[in-house]
């Protein structure tokens, strides 16, 4: 073959491969409201930066007529690219090629870039759009999944791992995203479940639609499997790029430095209502503190009684955890504990300091909570805060009662600095409950129990519903009004050293799961 012919032949092959499963299949993908695998890579990566690998990989299975089937790239596009000039590894399953089914060669391509992610220490982005295991390949397909899960686990805490669910992701396949740090779902596009509606109907007689069972909002709000919900694929790509702007490329690197900017909506002293029983939106506090009032919320639709996400202080990323008085009065419960604990552990793994805002009346009472294991789940929050070595700053805004006071990154769990507002109430419980217990006899025996109760509540409130008792013990380091908080935090960040890991001889702790 002449050089020219060889080169023409090469371009012919590339042109065919770029079409994935062919025009018809691509048209079908489009009709379903989905972008193609290559459009997705283009949407996430800086223009023209895709550095594709293994385009010519083919499967070698021969059973069930597979020997006559050519599958472009074996149903997955893999490679590297840049996001805002920073390198990432990336793969996109191509549903137009044999339903994006995962065979050994397909998995081999993913494994290759995962290994490169480890060697080069760069984030991994996975786009899932697959019917599941390629059944014709039998156990080889399972081997493929296992190889990926193993690497997801080895990469955990070394580089950030992001998963987009842009199509079906069912059965065992769900466990790769589940092992990664952040999962993104898109309305009417994403679907995740272990067993689908048909199997559930056959086995248990329960009827449910695919969307209700494992659609985007289900995963974002009910299960908490997804951390980011978007209305369109392009919105999800923006979320990915935004998230990466807050994260280091690996656990050894510092977080990216941005230009420090003041909040566009600085915090005012009247951010919380006069009546301590009234709620406020903790987002207003967060946005009033962070650089440019720019806050990227994680798990926005899940366990709304706690708010977590990323912001910056003086140009450097901080992980924010805040009780949300507007939802369930900001109580801690099973889901809020899980949500915050996982976020804290991510931040600690990637050297992102923690900033905690406290206003919580305690744990949510109820049979459902107790029987759902609030003891075991609540323990995760204590564990995650205690083990975190990064600098930990805490702002007590209002209520910090009982066990929840301890759990919300108190001095006792190793906070570097605890700042309290003059409105802070650090006590074993609220004044009403405390007075009813301590003065029960007096209230019962009083000629006017209601008046006595009110008097005793007032007495307890005056004595304990403030930050000064805790400050007198040194549990609170400083007290400042809301409007001064950002300044105090910038100072605190300057002087917070975090915790020295020392020479630990233990392999790892045993977090309650």
């Amino acid at each position: 073959m002449s050089i020219k012919k060889a080169i023409n032949d090469f371009f012919g092959r590339v042109a065919r491969l770029l079409k994935g499963g062919g025009d018809e299949a691509l048209e079908k993908q489009k009709k379903q409201g989905k972008l193609s695998a290559r459009e997705r890579l283009d949407g996430i990566l800086d223009p023209g930066s895709l550095f594709e690998t293994d385009m010519f990989v083919e499967h070698s299975s021969t059973d069930f007529g597979m020997d006559s089937k050519k599958l472009a790239g074996d149903g997955v596009v893999t490679g590297f690219g840049m996001v805002d000039g920073r390198p990432v590894s990336i793969f996109a399953q191509d549903f137009t090629v044999a339903g994006g089914s995962l065979g050994r060669a397909h998995a081999g391509k993913i494994v290759k870039i995962m290994d490169a992610s480890m060697a080069r220490r760069i984030p991994l982005i996975g786009i899932n759009d697959s019917g599941g295991a390629r059944i014709q390949e039998g156990v080889d397909s399972l081997c493929g999944y296992g190889d990926i899960f193993y690497r997801n686990t080895m990469l955990s805490g070394v580089v950030p791992q992001l998963s987009l669910i842009l199509g079906p992701c069912a059965g065992g396949a769900v466990y790769s995203p589940a092992l990664t740090d952040f999962v993104f779902v898109v309305n009417k596009v994403s679907n995740m479940f272990i067993t689908g509606p048909q199997v559930i109907k056959a086995v248990l007689g329960e009827e449910i639609s695919q969307e209700e069972l494992g659609g985007a909002m289900t995963q974002a709000s009910i299960t908490g499997n997804a951390h980011f919900y978007a209305e369109s694929e392009y919105e999800a790509f923006d979320q990915i790029r935004k998230l990466l702007s807050f994260l280091p490329s690996n656990c050894l690197e510092p977080t990216p430095e941005h230009k420090p900017v003041d909040p566009s909506r600085p915090l005012k002293d009247n951010v919380i209502p006069e009546d301590r029983r009234k709620a406020f939106d903790v987002h207003d506090v967060i946005r009033g503190i962070v650089d440019g009032s720019d806050f990227l919320e994680v798990h926005r639709h899940y366990a709304g009684n706690i708010v977590v996400g990323f912001g910056r202080l003086a140009g450097r990323t901080v992980g924010i955890i805040a009780n949300q008085p507007r939802v369930l009065a900001g109580v801690l419960d099973v889901n809020a504990s899980d949500k915050a604990a996982r976020f804290i552990r991510f931040c600690d793994a990637f050297s992102i300091p923690l900033l905690t805002f406290v206003d919580t009346p305690g744990y949510l009472p109820g049979v459902d909570q107790e029987h759902s294991g609030v003891i075991r789940h609540g323990a995760k929050l204590l564990y995650a805060y205690s083990e975190a070595l990064v600098p930990k700053l805490t702002v007590i805004m209002r209520k910090a009662y009982g066990g929840a006071y301890i759990a919300m990154c108190s001095r006792h769990l190793g906070a570097d600095f605890v700042i309290a507002w003059p409105t802070a109430e650090i006590a074993v419980m609220g004044s009403e409950g405390a007075a009813n217990i301590i003065f029960r006899k007096e209230i019962m025996e009083s000629a006017d129990p209601d008046a006595t109760r009110a008097e005793k509540v007032k007495e307890y409130e005056t004595k304990f519903a403030n930050p000064y008792v805790a400050a007198s013990r040194g549990y609170v380091d400083m007290i400042c009004p809301p409007g001064e908080t950002r300044k105090a935090l910038l100072n605190a960040m300057e002087y917070a050293g975090g915790t020295d890991p020392g020479n630990s001889f233990r392999r790892h702790g045993n977090i309650p799961l």
Partner: protein
Amino acid sequence: MASKLVIDDTGYETEIPENSLKLGRPPADPEIIKAFIPGTIVAVRTKVGEKVREGDALLLLDAMKMHNEVCSTVNGVVRELLVTTGDKVEKGQLLIRLRKD
């Protein structure tokens, strides 16, 4: 959705999202036995009026390729038997009524 949540005798004005305060399941009535899974009755091992003890196998229900024993939930008497061998049953279908001693 503004509502009130009471914690330690203090009522807080806040939003209470749907399903966030599920109460525990109501206790099941021990005198009725329902199919916990759809399947086929492959054996009936009791009859109406028979005295049974808690844990006695009363029916054999074939589901998910397994033979599942359906056992008495009380010490008492079989009051009504609503299925026979070969019946296909739905999840939640009433199978037996018992009377506690």
